[in-house]
Symmetry: D2
Subunit: 332 residues, 4 copies
């Protein structure tokens, strides 16, 4: 098994999907052991570090990569299996960025009200207990919250010559900010350009569904990935398979369109797996889908459609790619 | 304990929240044992029963009630504890109604494409196994799905002299179509008119989050409710408490507004319970909220914000009303 | 010609469409000479009169009526010709109501930012010059703006037993807040209940498209209407005919749905008038429709689709009803 | 005056804003005489030419340029004065592209209904009469419609290393598809990268507001532009000045956000020109803005806020740039 270890220097960070030369050329089957900086480039370390003074907008969400996957061509399916995510710092940070977030006016939901104040929360990591600590600032409340590591950003280069900010989620993946992107899952992404040119970043030590204020418990991450390639079959939207769920992530505005995109692609997937026509698929997702939100704060909103495998007949999508990658991961 | 048993005749069905004389006057503390017809008034019994021939639009979602709660005044909080929901027929039905549903154009998302076909699915109830059976029509696939009974519609009379169709969810509750409305929960609704005038209906034997096609596994239901009243404190949006979760349901369009409403009222609730200011509340829901969709098909869409009690300090909202009702229910 | 003069007392104001007993029963062909109070019931008379102190929410937008039109049945088309609108006071008022308006968070676009300040502007009417005067408060700028009187609210009782606040626009008309509702136009509304039960109110001395802050130059109005009835043909959405334009007003959220509804009903109208199929109608509105916004602040947003008659073959919709009413109005 | 004449070959077409090397380096003050191909690259010439067979998606909306403007730096304001637009072919074309358009489901408003049929309309240009001819296909109706030439696409390279498809409108301008972009106006665009790198294309012989079906009367165009540069002052959204109007174009989803963006930037502009604070600006746009839609079909929707100069005190934005360019154009 090819193994690539890579910790980018700040000069090597990528800030877009597309428009960036690959950091590495890898073969399908490669194991990647990566380090990703946090969305703030590690600059928020104390509650007194505020975005307007500490961040260099729009240079947030630095990406590790992109990786050129040999043999990947438009129309193919990139499979990224998240073997492990381990916090790489002893603290995570969250903050409110003026005119960014789900419960504030923004540059687009353009309103005349004053912005919310900038405020930063630091979450100490307790590795032994597997928790981060929320410390309120208006009271003395503290809460231990389980670490639930995930990647906010996983994506390939977009189609049609576009280059998109690492803050944007769309059909190419990107900043979906979904808690579904966690250890043990396989993410399937449609390839748009030769080599796929995928990158990852934006680790979260934990995040609620919706990422209300716009920033999770952001933290640098050790990321272990298995990379594989399926010829053809590129899905319309990012798909995620775990041992328990089939999931599709849609990203758009308004939020109902993000959800619709995820639903329609899931109905397509049901057709591929079980031969159900669209009406039967529509009926089945109506009764069994779980629909947790991913983010309602980014340039596009993201929503998930999840189907529990226990309610479905056995199936091994993409020629049992997920099962195979799970086994490879277990053997590491 | 006062007990009221009530099975309305079709002539007694209510079709709106507000604008209907009460079927009963009850005291806080009353136990209701009700029967609710299904959304289709029991008219879809076979896959050949189609909405355009069998339904009498807009007379769907018949309500049982309304109930006048003595002493309830505008600004108060009605507490409805769902003691039990038991399917009252041996089959449930789901169907596609032309230009209604989440993955089709509608009267509002007005498009020029042809409507989807009308199609009805019948789900046989297997009480012993606690399942309903999905039978595909394009293949021979059948699936056993666990019964997970819930009420699509729980609401009070709206404010300002309005009367709203039982198809509409809004601040008064109504057709929220959320799987959170299940046995064991207490629903808190703000009272808008003397007596509150609440009603219930639209039982679902199960439903996915989003209720994609517009109709769940619709079935008549035996509904056991404990009714209580809290003076004052009427919440802006319907709140639901279970042993495991605090939940708020927002309903609006576009979908992000439904979610925002649920989030902001949850932040308000956190302030009431723990004294957190809005910024701390914003931060905390960002990291711990679960955000499952309820419906993306009704006149307003509905979204839930759920906080796991295990992550929060102990608290007994509304003077421990939920705990008290749970104990009363257990003693029945 | 039957003539009805009516100035309601405050006790006679109607606050909903539907759910209100008729103030009058009239025959088709009746001339109404009405007085309508302004949206604020005349309570904002000075820049120091602020909504929270002066208004009695939700009792705004008082309606004059409703009028029962003899012979009107569900499915019919009510024709209301606006003969004249004349300001009935020497001043109009506009104000910002906290958490109401197009450029602020609201109860639904629920955000955490502080509300905008309450502020009231008084516009003196100069009848000789036909102007109202805008007086800035942050500078000494004053501007003379032409009076362009219109009715914010024209509607019938809704279907299905609903009663809707006079703040809401929807398929029944209501608070559409469109500058198209001006002297010389005929408004066609689908009848939902026996007698139609229409009412009018919410006069504006002028208004920009979108009614950004939520309140126009609100003023009491002398309203002269000719009322007529067309059997059958009730349109899906309110239609307006002037000498120059055919217009449809759609109302929904998000705003694209309001526009879509107006477009699709216009394409239907083109089919009725010229026999164009939907694809030809789609193509034609694509190239010739004017699409001014009406309001982006109310419970539903409203958008207009307007087609210039000069670009279309001659046609006299509804058996030349508009032409006939224009002639009757001219003969008064 | 420097003059550049440029008719790109198909190999020279640009398909994105950003990510493309400049075709020319020009000085501020340069006159450009350009040719732009139509959105379909001239491939739809007959009603039997249908998109799926004739177009090479996503290679539509070819751009002429980009032009590097010497001295332009991020934060500056590019001024593009449209001196003249003259149809460059004897016919225009419009068509329905499956799952693209305002009254159909799309890749994002993902629905299960069948796509609308592909259908192409050819509009013969009558230069003498200044008209194009609409010919219905379901009836024998033909209509002469005035030519009203405009540019669908005018934009600069976006910020933050992004490259965006020429089908997308956003803060950088792009595919706004607004009828306001017509001869005689000056468009002000904020510069994001050295040289601004602007391009133009997508000529329309005429278009309704909203561009309902997604394609206007698309036609190759002779484009005469005067280019100038203002140091600093880059607006948040594209601004357009004509002799009659100040206009801002916002682009986003949902449509209300496009409108809000245009409104808030217009309020900012009123502050710059007249010193009005935001509340006075809010009040003034409420009463005087015209709000025609631009497109409700593209990747973002676009809406205009227009203020008539006749209602405002005299002002010469950007140091009378528009007046100066008008005079220069008149002297050509």
């Amino acid at each position: 098994m090819d193994v690539v270890d890579y910790t980018p220097t700040p000069e090597q960070y990528a800030w877009t999907f597309g428009g960036v030369a690959p950091s590495h050329r890898i073969k399908p089957g490669t194991l990647l052991r990566l380090w990703t900086d946090d969305a703030f480039c590690g600059r928020l370390r104390d509650v007194t570090d505020l975005p307007s003074a500490s961040l260099n907008m729009p240079y947030v969400n630095p990406q590790t990569g992109p990786f050129h996957v040999e043999g990947a061509e438009p129309g193919d399916t990139l499979a990224l299996h998240i073997v492990d995510l381990t916090p790489a710092r002893g603290w995570g940070a969250s903050t409110t960025i003026p005119l960014f977030g789900g419960l504030t006016g923004t540059d687009r939901t353009a309103l005349l009200q004053d912005p919310l104040p900038e405020q930063t929360w630091i979450y100490e990591v307790n590795s032994d207990r597997g928790t981060v600590e929320f410390a309120a600032q208006s009271t003395d409340l503290t809460l231990e919250l389980p670490i639930a590591p995930m990647l906010g950003t996983v994506g390939v280069a977009p189609a049609a010559g576009e280059a998109r900010s690492s803050l944007v989620p769309d059909v190419f993946g990107g900043n979906m900010d979904t808690p579904e992107m966690k250890p043990g899952v396989t993410c399937y992404l449609g390839v748009n350009v030769d080599g796929a040119l995928f990158s990852v970043g934006d680790g979260h030590y934990r995040q609620g569904e919706g990422e209300s204020c716009g920033t999770a418990v952001e933290g640098a991450m050790h990321v272990t990935l298995l990379v594989d390639l399926i010829k053809g079959g590129g899905p319309a939207w990012p798909r995620i398979e775990s041992d328990e769920y089939l999931t599709v992530i849609g990203s758009s505005r308004p939020l109902e369109d993000a959800w619709r995109a995820s639903q329609v692609d899931m109905i397509r997937w049901l057709g591929e797996l079980y031969g159900l026509d669209a009406m039967d698929g529509y009926q089945l997702v109506t009764q069994i889908s779980e629909s947790p939100l991913a983010n309602v704060c980014d340039a596009n909103y993201s929503a998930a459609t999840k189907l529990p495998k226990t309610l479905l007949p056995a199936a091994d999508p993409y020629d049992a790619m997920h099962r195979s990658l799970r086994e490879q991961a277990a053997a590491l």
